[in-house]
Protein backbone atom coordinates (compact mmCIF):
# COMPACT_ATOMS: atom_id res chain seq x y z
CA UNK A 1 0.00 0.00 0.00
CA UNK A 2 2.84 2.38 0.78
CA UNK A 3 5.03 3.94 -1.90
CA UNK A 4 8.67 4.42 -0.84
CA UNK A 5 11.37 5.73 -3.14
CA UNK A 6 14.91 7.08 -2.84
CA UNK A 7 15.97 8.78 -6.04
CA UNK A 8 18.23 11.50 -7.45
CA UNK A 9 15.52 12.82 -9.79
CA UNK A 10 12.92 15.38 -8.81
CA UNK A 11 9.32 14.21 -8.33
CA UNK A 12 5.83 15.51 -9.06
CA UNK A 13 3.98 16.16 -5.77
CA UNK A 14 0.59 16.43 -7.44
CA UNK A 15 0.95 13.15 -9.33
CA UNK A 16 2.10 11.45 -6.12
CA UNK A 17 -0.79 12.92 -4.11
CA UNK A 18 -3.38 12.02 -6.72
CA UNK A 19 -2.12 8.44 -6.85
CA UNK A 20 -3.29 8.13 -3.24
CA UNK A 21 -6.83 9.31 -3.97
CA UNK A 22 -7.44 8.22 -7.58
CA UNK A 23 -10.61 6.15 -7.94
CA UNK A 24 -11.31 6.26 -4.21
CA UNK A 25 -14.30 7.69 -2.42
CA UNK A 26 -13.29 6.85 1.13
CA UNK A 27 -10.40 9.33 1.47
CA UNK A 28 -11.55 12.44 3.31
CA UNK A 29 -8.16 13.91 4.17
CA UNK A 30 -4.89 14.16 2.28
CA UNK A 31 -1.86 15.78 3.90
CA UNK A 32 1.37 16.43 2.04
CA UNK A 33 4.71 17.67 3.30
CA UNK A 34 7.35 18.91 0.89
CA UNK A 35 10.82 19.68 2.22
CA UNK A 36 12.75 22.19 0.12
CA UNK A 37 16.37 23.29 -0.01
CA UNK A 38 16.82 26.74 1.56
CA UNK A 39 19.69 28.99 0.50
CA UNK A 40 20.32 29.98 4.14
CA UNK A 41 20.25 33.70 3.47
CA UNK A 42 22.06 33.42 0.13
CA UNK A 43 25.00 31.52 1.58
CA UNK A 44 24.32 28.12 0.00
CA UNK A 45 24.98 27.03 -3.58
CA UNK A 46 23.62 23.53 -2.98
CA UNK A 47 23.06 20.73 -0.54
CA UNK A 48 24.59 17.33 -1.20
CA UNK A 49 22.63 14.44 0.20
CA UNK A 50 24.47 11.21 0.90
CA UNK A 51 22.50 8.10 1.85
CA UNK A 52 23.03 4.45 2.70
CA UNK A 53 21.50 2.55 -0.24
CA UNK A 54 19.40 -0.37 0.85
CA UNK A 55 19.20 0.71 4.46
CA UNK A 56 17.54 4.03 3.53
CA UNK A 57 14.60 2.28 1.86
CA UNK A 58 14.43 -0.36 4.60
CA UNK A 59 14.43 2.19 7.41
CA UNK A 60 11.80 4.36 5.72
CA UNK A 61 9.67 1.21 5.33
CA UNK A 62 10.01 0.52 9.07
CA UNK A 63 8.96 4.09 9.91
CA UNK A 64 5.99 3.86 7.53
CA UNK A 65 4.95 0.54 9.07
CA UNK A 66 5.04 2.15 12.50
CA UNK A 67 2.83 5.02 11.25
CA UNK A 68 0.37 2.51 9.78
CA UNK A 69 0.31 0.68 13.10
CA UNK A 70 -0.49 3.90 14.99
CA UNK A 71 -3.11 5.48 12.70
CA UNK A 72 -5.82 4.19 10.34
CA UNK A 73 -4.21 5.26 7.05
CA UNK A 74 -5.56 4.63 3.57
CA UNK A 75 -2.27 5.41 1.85
CA UNK A 76 1.27 6.64 2.47
CA UNK A 77 3.95 7.92 0.11
CA UNK A 78 7.51 8.82 1.07
CA UNK A 79 10.06 10.04 -1.47
CA UNK A 80 13.55 11.16 -0.47
CA UNK A 81 16.06 12.51 -2.94
CA UNK A 82 19.82 12.02 -2.81
CA UNK A 83 22.66 13.78 -4.59
CA UNK A 84 23.16 17.48 -5.24
CA UNK A 85 20.11 19.68 -4.68
CA UNK A 86 19.90 23.41 -5.47
CA UNK A 87 18.17 26.02 -3.31
CA UNK A 88 14.44 26.10 -4.02
CA UNK A 89 14.40 22.46 -5.14
CA UNK A 90 12.50 19.65 -3.44
CA UNK A 91 14.33 17.25 -1.11
CA UNK A 92 11.69 15.11 0.55
CA UNK A 93 7.98 14.38 0.19
CA UNK A 94 5.52 12.71 2.54
CA UNK A 95 1.83 12.20 1.77
CA UNK A 96 -0.77 10.55 3.97
CA UNK A 97 -4.38 9.72 3.13
CA UNK A 98 -7.04 8.87 5.70
CA UNK A 99 -10.79 9.08 6.19
CA UNK A 100 -10.40 11.94 8.65
CA UNK A 101 -7.99 14.82 9.09
CA UNK A 102 -6.56 14.04 12.53
CA UNK A 103 -4.78 10.78 11.58
CA UNK A 104 -3.61 12.23 8.25
CA UNK A 105 -1.99 15.22 10.00
CA UNK A 106 -0.54 13.22 12.87
CA UNK A 107 0.94 10.54 10.62
CA UNK A 108 2.59 13.02 8.24
CA UNK A 109 4.07 14.96 11.17
CA UNK A 110 5.28 11.72 12.79
CA UNK A 111 6.79 10.44 9.53
CA UNK A 112 8.85 13.59 9.08
CA UNK A 113 10.09 13.56 12.68
CA UNK A 114 11.08 9.92 12.43
CA UNK A 115 12.66 10.23 8.98
CA UNK A 116 14.78 13.10 10.25
CA UNK A 117 16.25 11.07 13.09
CA UNK A 118 16.18 7.50 11.68
CA UNK A 119 16.56 7.47 7.89
CA UNK A 120 20.26 7.22 6.92
CA UNK A 121 20.73 10.48 5.00
CA UNK A 122 23.37 13.12 5.60
CA UNK A 123 23.44 16.68 4.28
CA UNK A 124 26.61 18.51 3.29
CA UNK A 125 26.53 22.21 2.49
CA UNK A 126 28.19 23.62 -0.62
CA UNK A 127 28.80 27.36 -0.30
CA UNK A 128 28.60 29.99 -3.00
CA UNK A 129 32.36 30.46 -2.62
CA UNK A 130 32.76 27.12 -4.42
CA UNK A 131 34.12 25.20 -1.45
CA UNK A 132 32.51 22.11 -0.05
CA UNK A 133 31.41 23.19 3.39
CA UNK A 134 30.55 21.31 6.52
CA UNK A 135 28.29 18.40 7.12
CA UNK A 136 25.08 19.62 8.67
CA UNK A 137 25.01 18.80 12.39
CA UNK A 138 22.10 16.87 13.80
CA UNK A 139 19.81 19.07 15.86
CA UNK A 140 18.74 18.40 19.42
CA UNK A 141 15.34 19.80 18.46
CA UNK A 142 14.92 16.99 15.93
CA UNK A 143 15.53 14.43 18.65
CA UNK A 144 13.04 16.23 20.89
CA UNK A 145 10.51 16.34 18.07
CA UNK A 146 10.85 12.59 17.52
CA UNK A 147 10.46 11.91 21.23
CA UNK A 148 7.04 13.64 21.20
CA UNK A 149 5.70 10.37 19.79
CA UNK A 150 7.09 8.14 22.55
CA UNK A 151 4.63 6.15 24.64
Amino acid sequence: MATIRVQTADFDPQAEAEALTAGRRDVGALVTFTGLCRDEGGRLAALELEHYPGMAEAEIARVVAEAERRWPLLGVTVIHRSGRIAPGARIVFVATAASHRAPAFAAADFLMDYLKTRAPFWKKEHGLDGRAGDWVAAKDEDDRAARRWDG
Binding site: M55, L115, P120, W122
Partner: protein, 83 residues
Protein backbone atom coordinates in the same frame (compact mmCIF):
# COMPACT_ATOMS: atom_id res chain seq x y z
CA UNK B 1 32.37 -8.75 7.78
CA UNK B 2 31.73 -5.92 5.34
CA UNK B 3 32.14 -2.43 6.83
CA UNK B 4 30.65 0.72 5.26
CA UNK B 5 31.31 4.34 6.22
CA UNK B 6 29.16 7.38 5.54
CA UNK B 7 29.38 11.18 5.64
CA UNK B 8 32.31 12.51 7.68
CA UNK B 9 33.15 9.05 9.03
CA UNK B 10 33.79 8.04 5.40
CA UNK B 11 35.77 11.22 4.71
CA UNK B 12 37.96 10.84 7.80
CA UNK B 13 38.75 7.18 7.11
CA UNK B 14 39.30 7.99 3.44
CA UNK B 15 37.30 5.15 1.97
CA UNK B 16 33.64 4.10 1.62
CA UNK B 17 34.10 0.62 3.02
CA UNK B 18 36.26 -2.49 3.36
CA UNK B 19 36.33 -6.00 4.77
CA UNK B 20 37.12 -6.12 8.49
CA UNK B 21 37.85 -9.08 10.75
CA UNK B 22 37.47 -8.13 14.41
CA UNK B 23 38.67 -10.71 16.92
CA UNK B 24 36.15 -12.82 18.83
CA UNK B 25 36.76 -10.71 21.92
CA UNK B 26 34.87 -7.85 20.21
CA UNK B 27 31.25 -8.67 21.00
CA UNK B 28 29.13 -5.49 20.91
CA UNK B 29 28.79 -2.45 18.68
CA UNK B 30 30.48 -0.28 21.32
CA UNK B 31 33.42 -2.71 21.51
CA UNK B 32 33.60 -2.73 17.71
CA UNK B 33 33.88 1.07 17.64
CA UNK B 34 36.70 0.93 20.21
CA UNK B 35 38.48 -1.70 18.14
CA UNK B 36 38.02 0.32 14.92
CA UNK B 37 39.54 3.38 16.61
CA UNK B 38 42.73 1.41 17.16
CA UNK B 39 43.24 0.48 13.52
CA UNK B 40 45.29 3.58 12.64
CA UNK B 41 45.47 7.33 12.67
CA UNK B 42 42.54 7.96 10.30
CA UNK B 43 40.37 5.54 12.26
CA UNK B 44 41.33 7.18 15.54
CA UNK B 45 40.21 10.49 14.02
CA UNK B 46 36.92 9.09 12.66
CA UNK B 47 36.05 7.44 15.97
CA UNK B 48 37.53 10.03 18.35
CA UNK B 49 34.06 10.80 19.71
CA UNK B 50 32.63 7.29 19.96
CA UNK B 51 29.37 8.24 21.65
CA UNK B 52 28.13 10.14 18.58
CA UNK B 53 28.93 7.34 16.12
CA UNK B 54 25.85 5.37 15.03
CA UNK B 55 26.09 1.73 14.04
CA UNK B 56 23.85 -0.30 11.74
CA UNK B 57 24.02 -4.10 11.59
CA UNK B 58 22.70 -5.63 8.38
CA UNK B 59 21.03 -2.32 7.50
CA UNK B 60 19.15 -1.80 10.75
CA UNK B 61 20.03 0.60 13.59
CA UNK B 62 21.84 -1.15 16.46
CA UNK B 63 22.38 0.02 20.02
CA UNK B 64 25.90 0.22 21.54
CA UNK B 65 25.26 -2.96 23.57
CA UNK B 66 23.86 -4.94 20.62
CA UNK B 67 25.90 -8.10 19.86
CA UNK B 68 27.62 -8.14 16.48
CA UNK B 69 27.75 -11.93 16.22
CA UNK B 70 26.24 -13.17 12.96
CA UNK B 71 26.10 -9.76 11.24
CA UNK B 72 27.43 -9.80 7.69
CA UNK B 73 27.40 -6.03 7.22
CA UNK B 74 28.19 -3.21 9.61
CA UNK B 75 27.96 0.52 8.92
CA UNK B 76 29.33 3.49 10.87
CA UNK B 77 27.99 7.00 10.45
CA UNK B 78 27.19 10.27 12.24
CA UNK B 79 23.67 11.16 13.44
CA UNK B 80 21.28 11.44 10.48
CA UNK B 81 20.41 14.82 8.97
CA UNK B 82 18.02 13.93 6.15
CA UNK B 83 14.43 14.98 5.67
Amino acid sequence: MKASYFAWVRERIGKAGEEIAPPDSVRTCAELIAWMAGRGEEYAYAFENPQIIRVALDRAHARPDAPIAGAREVAFFPPMTGG
